[in-house]
Symmetry: C2
């Protein structure tokens, strides 16, 4: 082959490989939801906002996974029935469909399994499942909706959690500046944001924070290089497995919309992104980021804020005269 032909072949190969180069980035764009069962998702949206799923009639899924606030409650740990202090920071519901498992310790396999937990948890919504189902089944508007979605009016825990999960699958946030850049729009990121992403990769953050959700895909020890100091008693997956190697091993949280989901970590121990980045560097990477590095990393992280789901505030079907009434103050 002559030198010129070699050069031409090389140029052609480079041109061909441009899409491939993009494909090897450790982060993939968030895709708009597809294949949603809209009848089920519509029920799930109402149930997500319905405080009648709680004993008090006051707490809904949206109380702690507030879709006005990045799908979280922006509190170190959540407030449950009777103003009980929850044990752990409320993870965002946004892009939760990408999580390998649900809850910080991964004890629920998927969104549907997760949805059942807080309803009945005496420290959260404190509503026995049987009573929750009785309430829903007494509300004519829900019965009509279930009949339309499933062909009959039966209100079962499986259907209730399936519809909530179907709604939650719609809660994705495409269109972040970072995703637009991933998809080829060079101007979507500033130089600082690009430098922050380069540093994010080079420092090894992407070992855990990768995939479309920039996290959520694996479990990792909190305090890999140095131990994490906290008063919070949560021990991560150790509580499930009893294995010493699972102590302080939590699901890696998504960094999508992390600008909105403060405070950070399973105990809500870091109030700002700046603080969270420094602690992560120190504890997980054994590295002390400089002020300018922190600023670049934070700039990159803020570029992960996507378009939040836009939908009309759901209007809930009213209770009927025989609907069991809430019990906010009683035993």
């Amino acid at each position: 082959m002559q030198p010129l032909a070699t050069l031409k072949a090389l140029a052609a190969a480079v041109a061909l490989s441009a899409p491939l180069a993009q494909a090897v980035e450790p982060i993939a764009p968030i895709e708009p939801p597809t294949g949603v069962n809209s009848a089920k998702a519509a029920i799930g949206k109402q149930l997500f906002f319905d405080p009648r799923l709680s004993k008090s009639g006051f707490l809904s899924c949206n109380s702690c996974h507030n879709l006005s606030m990045g799908g979280s409650d922006n509190l170190p740990s959540s407030i449950g029935h009777g103003w009980q202090q929850g044990p752990i920071n409320s993870p965002t519901v946004l892009n939760a469909r990408y999580n390998v498992a649900q809850f910080w310790d991964g004890r629920a396999g998927d969104l549907q399994e997760q949805a059942a937990g807080p309803i009945a948890n005496p420290k959260e919504m404190a509503m026995p499942h049987d009573l929750a189902l009785e309430v829903i089944a007494s509300i004519p508007g829900y019965l009509e909706a279930f009949a339309a979605a499933y062909g009959d009016e039966a209100v079962t825990l499986e259907r209730v959690t399936e519809t909530i999960a179907e709604f939650e699958r719609t809660l994705v946030t495409p269109g972040a500046p970072f995703d637009r850049w991933l998809q080829g729009d060079e101007a979507a990121l500033s130089d600082d944001e690009k430098a922050g992403y380069a540093l994010f990769k080079d420092s090894g953050c992407t070992a855990c924070h990768n995939g479309p959700a920039v996290g959520g895909g694996m479990f990792q020890k909190m305090g890999l290089v140095r131990p994490y100091e906290t008063d919070n008693p949560a021990q991560g997956r150790y509580a499930l497995t009893g294995k010493e190697s699972d102590r302080m091993v939590f699901k890696v949280p998504t960094l999508r919309n992390v600008e909105l989901t403060y405070p950070y970590f399973h105990d809500g121990g870091a109030e700002t992104l700046d603080e969270a980045v420094r602690v992560m560097g120190r504890l997980q990477l054994g590295r002390e980021f400089s002020d300018s590095e922190v600023a670049q990393l934070v700039a990159f992280l803020k570029s992960l804020t996507g378009e939040l789901p836009q939908f009309a505030l759901p209007v809930l079907p009213p209770s009927a005269p025989d609907t069991p009434r809430p019990n906010p103050y009683g035993p």
Copy 2:
């Protein structure tokens, strides 16, 4: 004048007076909002949904005036900071612009004055006004919005309450079947609903429940003919005026969307419309409605459910690193 001419003149007069006949109904249709300052209302919508106006960071205006639930919380009395039991039933914010004054005892003259109350009330949101303003003024997204609406970034209590009130002025519910009937659509009401309305007028309910909001326009004693028995200590306007004649005198609540705003009365003492109608008949009118009368009155009352405000769930601007953090559990 010849007989035929007389008949023609009479027919013309009747045709001309049809609008007049309608005008003498004691209830007027709800009109869509007009003259709204959309920049201010947009801020007010965010603030209405923003739990950062509470000490805990957990309670917003929407917690107790839930726009998914008829603008109320459907609890006998509301839950405040630290799960304190509120003293009174949360009145709906829907069509509250028509109220002669705000709160059950009318102690606030208008929506703007009302909005300041629950924020600072230690039993409700428990947030000192100074701190609430400091929080809002620390949030870049709010500063931009205030600058756009007012020409400068100053965050004052007057502006905060003005924007909330401006949003609340949009919370009206036109298009109820009853209003469509008022406006000439004979088919908008069933025979039972029409009979219920006739009974509503003939029994004297419209002496208090009149105007566009079917209430809200005056004060009246709860227990006019027979005393109202309740454990609730509220004494109505007596608390403001000290006058014996104001004891148990409350603002007449709106009956718009009353199907959605259970339980009823200032103490939430009646769980169903059926019960509320019977108690009202007995205590205010000295009349025992029959079962079929109750059914007709309830049918009429349900025809007052209008089109609830439809808007996208607001997305709140995130806190900044220096935003004062919520204090849900501390002193």
